[in-house]
């Protein structure tokens, strides 16, 4: 075992020397994420899925993505410098405190649907999960079309196949032996949009990344449309309407939604 380790070390040194001599070393970009929340949360599974996919992309571009997992209790005292973004699956109070303390660092909300967090318009808060109002609007649109229908509104569904959702569901289930849900989709999307942005821009500074995400993002969340953020920090996205565990429609509901765009769902600007 020891011998193997030594051999591995020698091999590593040789590789490093080789890479350094070819100049490849200088180009490696390394990026660190922090996740705050329970370590058995579905959101974390999504985060890890996104991380694996980011590293798969990174291997072609000399980019490496790492993850630190921090419990909610330790978050207040943890040093968050050195992270490109903080991914959270926490309660609303913890989220508000964290995002206010970490101004300039993108703080992703993966789990909280509360509309007050959107109207608060915290500059560095990025809400991947749809707000309660977005879901309510989606249901209202659907009811206009199908009166008497009691649908659920969801960000994601394991049976979703369109827009290559099928592929994401398939590889998530293969890796995690469980189905992707709203929280794990949000975790995946937050990491993937960050690494896609880093890959394109080579940005490694959190404040620069925040600016890029809020103003220039074009993200493929495997839900069809090109995704970007509202000024409230909410991610624009379609919502799935589900009845008896079956997808019955997508909102914006065609022919009903006004305007017929993603902004027919929820609050889209900071002005009240």
């Amino acid at each position: 075992m020891l011998k193997k380790n030594i051999n591995n070390k020698i091999l590593c040194i040789l590789i490093v020397t080789f890479l350094a001599s070819t100049g490849v070393m200088a180009e490696i970009i390394e990026v660190n994420f922090a996740y705050v929340g329970q370590n058995d949360h579905a959101a974390l599974l999504g985060v890890k899925q996104g991380l694996a996919e980011s590293n798969l992309q990174g291997q072609f571009l000399n980019q490496k993505y790492n993850l630190d997992i921090i419990s909610t209790d330790d978050a207040a005292t943890h040093d968050f410098s050195g992270y490109i973004a903080v991914l959270t699956a926490v309660d609303i109070d913890t989220f508000t405190k964290l995002s206010e303390n970490l101004s300039g660092i993108p703080v992703f909300n993966l789990t909280i649907g509360d509309d007050n967090l959107r109207t608060a318009c915290i500059n560095n808060a990025l809400h991947i999960i749809p707000s309660a109002r977005m879901k309510a609007d989606a249901i209202a649109q659907w009811k206009k079309k199908e009166a008497g229908s009691h649908a659920n509104a969801q960000a994601w569904h394991p049976d979703f196949v369109k827009f290559a959702a099928r592929d994401l569901n398939k590889r998530f289930k293969k890796k995690n032996k469980t189905e992707m849900n709203d929280h794990s989709w949000a975790g995946w999307a937050a990491v993937k949009m960050t690494s896609d942005s880093v890959a394109r821009t080579k940005i490694t500074d959190p404040a620069e990344l925040l600016n890029y995400l809020k103003s220039k993002l074009t993200f493929d969340g495997q839900k069809g449309s090109n995704m970007n953020f509202r000024e409230t920090g909410q991610l624009r996205q379609l919502i799935l309407l589900v009845e008896n565990e079956k997808i019955v429609a997508e909102a914006p509901v065609r022919g009903i939604a006004k305007p017929p765009t993603l902004d027919s769902l929820g609050i889209s600007s900071c002005e009240k």
Partner: protein, 317 residues
């Protein structure tokens, strides 16, 4: 007297097999119809529908035009069909979830295996896998330069064109493009390639030798989700399948400005151009039709009903 005929017959036989007349047929895979539609090249009517198995998508012809290959995705197989008799000749295992493929001038097939993040190379004569190339997530589009030197694989969820050196089957360059690159095509010289990015609604023109993007052009409004792309015979324009924009977009190959949108059917994905460059065929998935475009006027001259969710199209001309 009898002996005199033998060499002549042998000669005739060789001539017939080596230079067999192409059927002129247009072949279309019906993703949800589990079949291929066979369109007569002169009448432009469907003359036959053949059941080929679960979820046929990619379709292509051998360099001599004597064999038709079909990627039957859910069965993880390539099926080989005789374009004349329309009989399934044989089949072989083609890795997990084969989606799109392209046939190399040497006869080998380059396949994107969508759920395995790899491309595989098969010899369709023996059904043997010759090579495997690790690529990004959800590999889809496959394009091969006319001289056979390079292969492009697009990986949709990794937003890249992987440029592969065909002689070694290794990646020589990775070119980051817009979101969800779906298809690519080379110019005759092989120096330039065009690729579509579905989610960002773009076409990029790439210098293959340097790996640099020369130009990016938008394919239209937000409904436009481009998929297949091909060049006109004179290489002056490109034809882009506009996806949910329900049109084939004609763009200037140099400036990437839109010249015209040709309305076809709903969810247009597959495109093929005839060897003489006079006809472009598009598969319109949701409509269940194929549109025939006259490239002189860039108008649809016929719409043909095919099976459920037509996906890919090739011409045996």
């Amino acid at each position: 007297m009898k002996l005199f005929w033998i060499p002549l017959l042998v000669l005739l036989f060789i001539f017939n097999t080596a230079f067999a007349d192409p059927t002129g047929r247009i072949f279309v895979t019906n993703e949800k119809g589990d079949s291929i539609s066979v369109i007569n090249g002169s009448s432009l009517d469907v003359e036959a529908t053949i059941n080929v198995g679960d979820r046929p998508r990619g379709i292509g012809l051998s360099p001599d035009g004597n064999e038709l290959y079909i990627a039957v995705s859910e069965e993880n197989k390539i099926k080989v069909v005789d374009p004349k008799s329309l009989k399934i000749l044989r089949e072989f295992e083609a890795g997990s979830d084969p989606e799109t493929f392209a046939v190399h001038p040497n006869g080998n097939i380059y396949i994107s295996n969508e759920d395995e993040a790899k491309a595989t190379v098969f010899d369709p004569k023996t059904g043997k896998q010759l090579a495997e190339i690790r690529v990004g997530l959800e590999p889809e589009g496959v394009a091969i330069s006319p001289d056979g030197k390079r292969v492009i694989i697009t990986s949709e969820s990794t937003n890249m064109l992987h440029v592969i050196k065909a002689s070694e089957n290794t990646i020589e360059n990775n070119i980051l493009v817009g979101s969800r690159p779906r298809a690519a095509t080379f110019t005759q010289s092989g120096d330039i390639a065009y690729a579509t990015a579905e989610i960002s609604g773009e076409v990029v023109k790439v210098d293959i030798n340097s790996g640099k993007i020369l130009k990016t052009g938008s394919t239209g409004d937000s409904k436009s989700k481009p998929k297949d792309v091909l060049l006109s015979k004179d290489e002056k324009v490109i034809y882009v399948a506009g996806g949910r924009a329900n049109e084939v977009v004609v763009m200037d190959a140099n400036t990437l400005e839109i010249i015209k949108g040709i309305p076809v059917g709903k969810r247009v994905w597959g495109l093929a151009i005839s060897k003489d460059g006079k006809r472009v065929f598009s598969t319109n998935g949701v409509s269940g039709t194929v549109s025939v475009i006259d490239t002189d006027k860039n108008v649809v001259i016929k719409t043909i009903e095919v099976g459920k969710f037509p996906w890919g199209v090739v011409i045996n001309d």
